[in-house]
Amino acid sequence: MLRRRSLIELLDEMQKRIEDSFEEFFEMFRERPSWDISRGCFEPLTDVIETQNEVIVTADLPNVAKENIKIHSTEDTLEIEATMRRGIRFERWGTIQREVEFCAFHKSMKLPAKVEPEKAKAKFKMGILEIHIPKQVKRISVKIE
């Protein structure tokens, strides 16, 4: 049988819903823009997957040629820089409402695990960069007593 909810429960539910909506709304504004007009730079869309042995990072780099991509990695960070084939001009860009031209991508990120950057491998196809970096793995054999 369905139980009729009390007024307090309904008010609690309503309050939670309002709080959630506000949190979502302000979360939007806490984010920084994915572009930097002073450098004419976009932050590329990226995805990071951690498997047992490696960290795989992909990045969407349209309008870029392979030779114009630079990747730098330390044991726990990765930086991707790329210059576009031709600048992309927008007449009135977003909140700043003036003409801007973007000609590069830049993204720095913290990796989810310590890696061996010197063993990293990358490929670039259809504007998608895929980097495989082996994780620092310490394997210790455990003796059975």
Binding site: S34, L45, D60, P62, N63, K125, M126
Partner: protein
Amino acid sequence: MSEEISFVEEEIIKKDTPAIILGLPDVGLVGIISAEHLVHALKMNKIGYIESDLFPPVTILHKGEIHSPFRIYGNGGFLLITSEIPIPPDILHQFARTVVKWAKSKNARMILALGGTPVPNREDIENPKVYATGSDERAMGIIKESAIEKIEEGVIVGAYATIMWECKKERIPAIFLMAQAFHGYPDPGAAASAVTAASKILDLKVDVKELLEKADEIRLKMRDLMKQTDKTMRTIGKAREYEIPPMYG
């Protein structure tokens, strides 16, 4: 706060048995990229919008004018619904029921949902394949006539999943076209395949050359929407689409 979702028609929609095309933010933004291309190619006019207090407080400014992110377009025997923001996960069922109820009120002959299906090796695929699923026998018949490969087993998650289910219940033939696409990156190539398949179903001639030529620009413009859509897709467990369904028999 009103919990209603309403269709507001700015022009009287008199179409007889229209086909309703849906282009919503989803995998690779295939739906919205395809919808935008179809609006231009079929010279569709904005004829209405969808509003609700349950939608995020977002308004789109275009050429100095204020627009709803949930818009309805029309021309000839076609209506098209598109959205420039992801549909909040907690209202997906209600949204689907409202869309299908509205389609029924328009005596729609068919609902055609345009979207993507994520493939892990998308960068190795030159021409993305399009698969389809239908809500009933009539829809399945159209898929067969159009020589589009039917998807036999799989999982659909999100707005299209709920819309397809509502169409099945309400006996409206609905077809969901799924082009092989990048999961979290805007995919105009997949959209071109989806538009080509949609043209077969709707018996239209739509050139996708411009869509392919402008692919890089579209990918750049759609980055922020893709980011927001990706967040929503994670919330609703979109990655389940990679799964094999456990049904047997």
